[in-house]
């Protein structure tokens, strides 16, 4: 007589201090041998209550919190918050500021993709590209430092424009850097994309269909890898940001990790193209809107003009009020649709500020994406989702 012995699945704790967890991700894995049956992710280990803090700060003071959400694509988030305020207040932005915003948004995209791609490669086993990319990232952060004074948390893009103008030597250096950088991407591409081991780890891993991607709320590269051509740079709320530029959007075919890898590399080339374009077309003029009820006047005016002094005092202490209502604004951040939902209530602080982080939605699908994959593939999948816990946990 046959006796069946009941075999239980193996429970495994992954993280929160695992280097491949990209921060503080804790996973409770249910494995059958080495095959994952269930991945229950525990997030919130980096929860800092940004949304609660924002409710207690005036709009200008709330801006630096956005740098600290996704700490590898800082300016994309500043820009979203600034533009959501601009949209609500109906401020128009000078052309030069728009172009410089595009330049820095695309630099941020490169900054993010360099980290995403190479840490992904590092998790999979390729050490060298990581070292190469961080050299380039260092140069990019130097540009950040030169423009804002801070390597990471720039606080450069303000509601109404930019904090100050960039000098021409910086723009010249960015332009020069681009020429060298394209060869660096080419090197990075060369060492990885035809590598047999790398392909074995990535091809047909973490496949998602378009239908599922919609159902899970995917945006950005994750959605585009399934073949949907959806990019907020071209279809978003305020197209005037990218109106002047040709944005080519790479799309995936199979929706696996390898596709996403290739797309991120291609996006870096496209970003280079856009930056070069924006710098060539860069108009002269102001970088800040002149609406003195919302924008702090230039310091030189304050010495001469009493009105400017009053405005400065009022704006720096009281800030500006926004009428009661709700609005949602989103931009194509490097990771996907980064959105800000503002509920305002006739006061100088946001009544409620919800931050829509793309990583939150991608990480949520980890269970389905990693189902019946091997344990080692889980690392690939976390890498391809490009998770940063600053934004997931908020």
């Amino acid at each position: 007589m046959l006796k069946f012995k009941e075999v239980k699945n193996f429970l495994l704790n992954f993280g929160p201090q695992h280097p491949a967890a990209h921060g503080v991700l804790r996973l409770i894995l249910e494995t059958d041998g080495e095959v994952i049956k269930k991945a229950d992710s525990h997030i919130g280990l980096l929860h800092r209550g940004t949304e609660k803090l924002l409710e207690n700060k005036i709009y200008t003071q709330g801006l630096p919190y956005f740098d600290r959400l996704d700490y590898v694509s800082m300016m994309a988030q500043e820009l979203t918050f600034s533009m959501s305020i601009e949209k609500v207040l109906g401020i128009t932005i000078p052309k030069r500021a728009l172009h410089l915003r595009v330049v820095f948004l695309e630099l941020t995209r490169i900054l993010n993709h360099l980290l995403a791609l190479t840490t992904h490669a590092l998790d999979v086993g390729a050490m060298t590209p990581f070292l190469w990319a961080f050299e380039e990232r260092e140069k990019l952060m130097e540009f950040y430092e030169r423009v804002s004074g801070a390597r990471l948390h720039a606080n450069f893009i303000r509601p109404g424009g930019l904090a100050w103008d960039c000098n021409s030597s910086l723009l010249y250096d960015i332009f020069n850097w681009l020429n060298n950088f394209e060869t660096h991407i080419f090197e990075l591409e060369n060492v990885l994309i035809h590598n047999r081991i790398f392909k074995q780890r990535l091809v047909n891993i973490g496949v998602m269909s378009a239908f599922k991607a919609f159902n899970w709320g995917y945006t950005g590269v994750m959605l585009r890898s399934t073949g949907i051509k959806w990019d907020l740079r071209k279809t978003g709320f305020l197209n005037d940001l990218y109106k002047d530029f040709l944005v080519k959007i790479p799309i995936g075919l199979r929706g696996d990790c390898y596709d996403r890898f290739l797309m991120r590399i291609q996006e870096m080339y496209e970003s280079c193209f856009i930056i070069r374009n924006a710098l060539e077309l860069l108009p002269e003029g102001n970088v800040m809107s002149t609406n003195s009820k919302i924008i702090v006047p230039p310091r030189r005016n304050m010495r001469m003009d009493m009105e400017a002094l009053i405005h400065h005092f009022k704006l720096c202490s009281e800030g500006y009020d926004i009428f009661k209502g709700q609005s949602y604004f989103a931009l194509e951040a490097p990771k996907g649709e980064f959105g800000v939902f503002l509920a305002t209530s006739n006061s100088n602080k946001p009544y409620r500020c919800y931050i829509r982080a793309p990583g939150f939605f991608h990480l949520q699908s980890l269970d389905e994406m990693s189902y019946s994959h091997m344990l080692a593939d889980l690392v690939t999948i976390i890498g391809t989702q490009d998770i940063v816990f600053g934004e997931v946990d908020r």
Partner: protein
């Protein structure tokens, strides 16, 4: 009045049913009738906006729905494609406690906002639901998988229960955390703090001990407000 035009909706339904067979069940038909007739049972108010800065066809619409009908509203949106290819972008909640302090309208303590994106027509729809504290709202996890963590987050931060959610655990706060941090009656500093006890040699929660009393600087001018030039939502 684009979406709620009767002929428009009927045309879409006709087109859709020609292309792909749609089986109408009771709820869908009921909802279509409600939507067309603007019956106050389901849709309480409608607010349509065109985003002028954006390409054609970009429509931003927000409707207020009766809390009991939220599930069918979303079901309707997904199944009959009146709103194109529907993608749940976010669910978020607002606690109206302080905002309506003069009204004392506790029937509308919470506002839940569902933000949908229609990728085909490049338009967005916000569905608002107002309800009181303790109201059990129906979960939409069976329609959108992405609603799972969103609802867990709202449960965690606002203490709203979702009926039909299979895995309603806390998500962002610590294991064993008590209270709902984003409610307006929860203090910014919280009640507990985590600290290392030098003598007992362990890390544990203690009642919060502020070195200095928590201060709120109310910088708002009580007699005048800066004039705002224009306001567009």
């Amino acid at each position: 009045m684009i979406i709620l035009n009767k002929d428009h909706i009927l045309n879409i339904i006709k087109k859709k049913s020609e292309n792909q067979l749609i089986t109408f069940n009771k709820y869908k038909v009921l909802f279509i009738l409600d939507l067309i007739g603007l019956c106050s049972d389901v849709v309480e108010s409608v607010d349509l906006q065109f985003d002028t800065a954006v390409t054609e066809g970009n429509l931003n619409c927000s409707i207020v729905v009766n809390p009991a009908d939220i599930f069918y509203t979303v079901l309707m949106l997904t199944s009959t494609n009146i709103f194109g290819e529907c993608n749940l972008i976010a669910i978020t909640c607002t606690d109206n406690l302080v905002q309506d302090k003069f009204v004392k309208d506790l029937d509308k303590r919470f506002t839940l906002t569902y933000i949908f994106l229609d990728v085909k027509n490049n338009s967005r729809l916000n569905i608002n639901v107002n309800f009181s504290e303790g109201y059990m709202i129906q979960s939409i996890t069976s329609l959108f998988k992405s609603a799972n963590w969103l609802e867990r987050e709202i449960f965690d931060l606002f203490g709203i229960f979702f009926a039909g959610h299979k895995d309603l655990r806390r998500i962002l706060t610590d294991y064993g955390f008590q209270g709902n941090p984003l409610k307006k009656d929860f203090p910014l500093t919280g009640y507990l703090e985590l600290r290392y006890d030098e003598y007992k040699k362990y890390v544990g929660y203690k009642n919060i001990d502020l070195m200095q009393e928590f201060r709120v600087f109310n910088t708002e001018s009580p007699w005048e407000k800066l004039e705002i030039v224009s306001f567009t939502l």
